[in-house]
Amino acid sequence: MQAASPLLAVALTVVFGSILFAARGFDPLHANYVYFIGPLTTLWSVEELIVKATPLVLIGAGLAICFRADLWNIGAEGQLIAGALAGASIPILAPQWDSALAIPAMLVLGMLGGMAWAAAPALLRNRFGANEILTSLMLVYVAQYLLDWLVRGPWRDPQGFNFPKSISFNDWHLLATFGDGRVHLGAVFAVVVVLVLAVFMSRTLMGFEIRVRGEAPRAGGFGGFSQKGTTWLCFGISGALAGLAGICEVAGPVGQLQPTISPGYGFTAIIVAFLGRLNPLGALLGGLVLAICYLGGEAAQVELSISEKTAQVFQGMLLFFILTCDTLIRCRVRLERTTRSPAHARASRGIGDAASGAAGVRGAVP
């Protein structure tokens, strides 16, 4: 039954989306076809789907682990940017370094960059007890300004006609691609990461520690599990994966640094994690669904000329529906009066006591 919740949520989003389309004067069937089915009908768009799903799955799987441990890393967007910056330092500062080691070095630097950006909220929480939600989010803005400064200042392409862009990466600094040349190595990483994390969470002691920390932190304490250690671990993993997603984006589809390198993948990945029931394997499916949402938004913009913001509204709705369906599936909802005025409550309690008292007496007599 638990698996039904995301399906129900997607269905409800489509229903409400139809209402939204109808309200804007579109034929809901046609609009839904353009939005949700269209992206799956051509090879080109399926490849595009994989490209879009790659960062979502990478980040979503990491966030799923964090959220499982009741740690709220919502700054993945910043960690993505930090990873992209760290990894891009090689193609920008050493553009001529053509070696088989270049790509692995970029990927490692990217992961370290994301990890470093995520380590800040973990450190601040462990050392000072500062709320990780707020610190990780604030660092998103800091990362965005850092990227903006770099591409307009020190890392701007000198031959770039003053556009705020870095040099385009050389071929040997771009990830290997498949098919038409858009699906890149990152997609393989995403699948591997998901499988590894699924085993890690379900089959290892560390994975168990993470789950216990979220579900019964006191029990974890009695078991000798270190809360601080888990915090480091979860932020480290999710930061590294967000950083990996970042470097895969700039060394893949983007191919250079520019003021915007992600259409909010770090935030959308929060929905991916929840849609995947905070399970790494689920994040794989969740990432594909949210990627359809992005692509459908673009298709709807072209074919129906409605704002690409529709995608964001759908994403928000989807998360609302997941949370709602979780309750409706876990609990049986009963409508009953719970509010009573104190006087009324006292009176009815009195009657109840009297009645039970009477019953007791009657029971005792024979």
Partner: protein, 306 residues
């Protein structure tokens, strides 16, 4: 206008939306609910306020519409977290993501249009004073409202029965329930109040701060307001002090740029966010200060057992 007047005026302008949103969230959190959707409610307030004011030509209608939008968003959150007992963190995040998306969608036709600006209210007799006159007594209605709301909230928590009930519900919802208080109803009210305040903060941005609609114009102010509540250790007076401090930091960056300080503008723009982190550290390190007023039940779901 002297330079000092100009600086003080801009600081008040930058602080008011923070103060409005933070004091609303303060009431919500005191009732034991953590609403991470402040940013979403604020931006919906901004876009609705702008749209209503632009269509009707009346800033007052804009403000009313913004409050309505804030409350509507808040009630959505309240329904999910109180009636359906959904996770508050996740629901708050959803509210923010949804609000940012929906505001972009509804605001698209209004981008770049000239807005309606809230008029200043000159307090008779006092607005003529040197320095204090223009700075304190010639502001628009929302600036006065922000101060009035803060004072009212402080008084409510310190002196009234309803303030005590809200604090009781936030400190121990099981006891409050056992005493016969309707925990969900109190929280619905507090969440709605937080939404109304966030809506006002949004209206201030799109009707007074920069009277136009710009996508993502809240720029994380909702999140800074959330941080302010922690920084203020859940007390209205410190929320006000914190809001003006943050406003000053925000403005300092702009002025430093103006007088040609040789720092990249991006660093100055990132300053408020870094200062927020620093402020959180300063306060979180102090166990006594944080423990005294932290609502004990914050973020916990309450399902009454019968």
């Amino acid at each position: 206008m002297s330079a000092l007047e100009a600086v003080l005026l801009t600081i008040i302008t930058a602080s008011t939306p923070l103060l409005l949103a933070a004091v609303g969230e303060l009431v919500t959190e005191r009732s034991g609910v953590l609403n991470l959707g402040v940013e979403g409610m604020m931006i919906m307030g901004a876009v609705t306020g702008f749209a209503a004011a632009y269509t009707t030509g009346s800033a007052a209608v804009g403000v009313a519409a913004a409050v309505g939008a804030g409350i509507a968003m808040a009630l959505l959150f309240a329904f999910l977290t109180q009636t359906l007992a959904a996770n508050q963190m996740a629901t708050g995040l959803a509210l923010t993501l949804f609000g940012i998306g929906l505001s972009g969608l509804t605001g698209q036709p209004f981008t770049g249009l000239p807005g309606v600006k809230l008029g200043a209210i000159h307090v008779p007799g006092l607005s003529g004073l040197p320095l204090a006159g223009p700075v304190l007594f010639s502001q628009d209605v929302l600036v006065y409202a922000s101060v009035a709301i803060t004072v009212a909230v402080a008084w409510m928590f310190a002196r009234t029965r309803i303030g005590l009930v809200i604090r009781a519900v936030g400190s121990n919802h099981h006891s409050a329930h056992a005493l016969g208080y309707n925990v969900a109803a109190v929280r619905y009210g507090c969440i709605a109040f937080g939404g109304a305040c966030a809506g006002l903060a949004g209206a201030y941005l799109s009707l007074a701060y920069t009277p136009q609609w710009i996508e993502n114009m809240t720029a994380g102010r909702g999140w800074i307001a959330l941080a302010l509540v922690v920084f203020a250790t859940w007390t209205p007076g410190r929320v006000a002090a914190g809001a003006y401090l943050f406003g000053a930091v925000w403005i300092m960056g702009l002025y430093a740029q103006g007088i040609g300080v040789n720092i990249p503008p991006q660093f100055l723009a990132a300053l408020p966010y870094l200062v927020t982190i620093a402020a959180l550290l300063a306060i979180s390190g102090n166990r006594i200060l944080t423990k005294v007023n932290t609502p004990a039940c914050i973020g916990q779901t309450f399902v009454p057992d019968r």
